[in-house]
């Protein structure tokens, strides 16, 4: 597969449309429905519990165009969160006991109100996580962002699909590994990833192809050893994440003739223990336009939360949202395969 420079949407690819993706994913192909398999957990339906994390997607704009991106993000995407919607998020946070805010994108830093938003969330005394793609931190105009993040004690979570350039650049674009190393050295220089600094820096592994991720613990040892040996880089934890069969990764699976086998792998690896801990149980996702979703994946599939009276951040009602029934589909098997997968890595 060639490197990409634009989103699927910019190419007018029909797979960019969520309804087309859903039509493909939800063909059962002889596999059990996720809902029926979920019953193996002993619970009848997947329901949200207490909301612990508000994951806010600041927009689809990104300086990278990774091949597996579930957001279909890229420099051509202009959908970003407005300050007005951010203010509505702040009001919701003020009126809730949610402790963690997880900022994602796209590249969340590219939202012009990013710094203002982080500062305002900080005033509410919430723990902030930023999902940074690293290369943005060494891009012209963003050089002061690492320091800003450190000053605000923001936890950084970054994708690095492998500890070597080959796999990383194949998935994320040529030169991404080198720039990521540069950014990681800057972060380490500020104390990120170093013990006792209080500045948390976690890395994310996701498979560069149609296979499932390795065990988190074993791979973390390899990452730590190789990054320290070759580049003197340190970090806190490695999260291994399964690629979800949606958006650009779905496009890759179909184009490479791997779709059926990948779905079979996910279904066969269903683990009830992982299913009991899926992230939609404790995370609520906010889209760039303020609509609420059970997770970032459902957001990209435009599956809004079921709670009709609290479907937008301006109508945020924690009581109504907690205990809501989650909207599921065959893509949910991506969260429950093997040791499970979430924005915080394994689930078991």
């Amino acid at each position: 597969m060639e490197a990409r420079h634009k989103s699927m949407k910019a190419f007018g690819n029909e797979l960019a449309a969520p309804e087309v993706q859903l039509e493909i994913i939800n063909r059962k192909n002889g596999f059990p429905a996720f809902d029926s398999k979920y019953k193996d957990t002993g619970e009848d339906k997947l329901r949200a519990g207490k909301i612990e994390i508000l994951q806010i997607n600041l927009g689809k704009m990104c300086n990278q165009v990774c091949k597996h991106c579930h957001v279909d993000a890229g420099p051509d995407r202009k959908e970003i969160m407005s300050r007005e919607t951010m203010e509505q998020c702040l009001t919701a946070l003020k009126n809730s006991d949610i402790e963690t805010v997880d900022l994602t994108g796209g590249a969340p830093e590219m939202n012009p109100d990013f710094k203002w938003f982080v500062t305002e969330i900080k005033k509410l005394d919430k723990h902030i996580i930023v999902r940074s793609n690293l290369t943005i931190l060494v891009t012209n105009g963003f050089e002061d962002y690492p320091e800003f993040l450190a000053e605000n004690q923001v936890e950084i979570v970054s994708s690095l699909p492998y500890y070597k350039a080959s796999f990383t650049d194949r998935q994320r674009g040529s030169g991404v590994f080198e720039k990521s190393i540069k950014a990681m050295k800057i972060l380490n220089g500020l104390g990120y990833g170093k013990e006792d600094s209080g500045l948390i820096f976690n890395l994310v592994y996701n498979p560069v192809g149609a296979f499932l991720p390795p065990g988190q613990e074993c791979l973390e040892k390899d990452y730590k050893r190789e990054l320290a040996k070759n580049f003197g880089i340190v970090f806190n934890n490695l999260y291994t994440i399964t690629n979800m069969p949606i958006s650009r990764y779905l496009e890759y699976l179909i184009a490479s003739g791997n779709y059926e086998e990948y779905m079979e792998k996910l279904v066969n690896a269903f683990n009830p223990e992982a299913a009991k801990n899926v992230m939609c149980k404790y995370t609520l996702s906010v889209g760039w336009n303020g609509y609420l979703y059970d997770c970032d994946f459902n957001q990209m599939l435009e599956l809004k939360v079921k709670t009709e009276n609290s479907r937008h951040i301006k109508d945020f009602n924690q009581q109504i949202l907690e205990g809501r029934e989650i909207i599921t589909g065959q893509h949910c098997f991506g969260c429950t395969a093997g040791a499970g997968s979430s924005c915080g890595g394994e689930l078991t």
């Binding site: 070597k164 192809g209 296979f211 499932l212 065990g215 390899d222």
Partner: protein, 110 residues
């Protein structure tokens, strides 16, 4: 065209157990114990398995262990080196038998 090897047959491996279920169970228990992390990591064990798969030239094992190596965190570079190890041993094993040839040659020739 019919061939002796069909990738779909790999999924039928467990059917071998039908003829001797007790032996199959013993084999399975031992097999899964062998590949668990121990003094060697799961990734290292998968790479050894891949090398052996090439030495015994088993297409099922090559298919299964290429996938296993990726799923244990190896990349193409590591897998290619493992195949070279297998090839070096195979080549070296042939070559070292040249010593026997030389012994026989020495005995039979003036």
């Amino acid at each position: 065209m019919e061939t002796y090897y069909d990738p779909k047959d790999l999924k039928k491996f467990s059917e071998i157990g039908e003829g001797a279920p007790e032996l199959w169970k013993k084999f399975n228990d031992w097999y899964s114990e062998v590949f668990k992390e121990g003094a060697l990591s799961e990734r290292e064990k998968a790479l050894i398995a891949l090398a052996v798969a090439h030495a015994v030239q088993c297409p099922y094992c090559i298919d299964a262990y290429t996938q296993a190596c990726l799923e244990k965190g190896a990349d193409l570079e590591q897998m290619t080196e493992a195949v070279h190890v297998a090839s070096a041993i195979r080549g070296g094993a042939s070559l070292v038998h040249g010593v026997q040839m030389k012994n026989v040659n020495k005995k039979l020739t003036m």
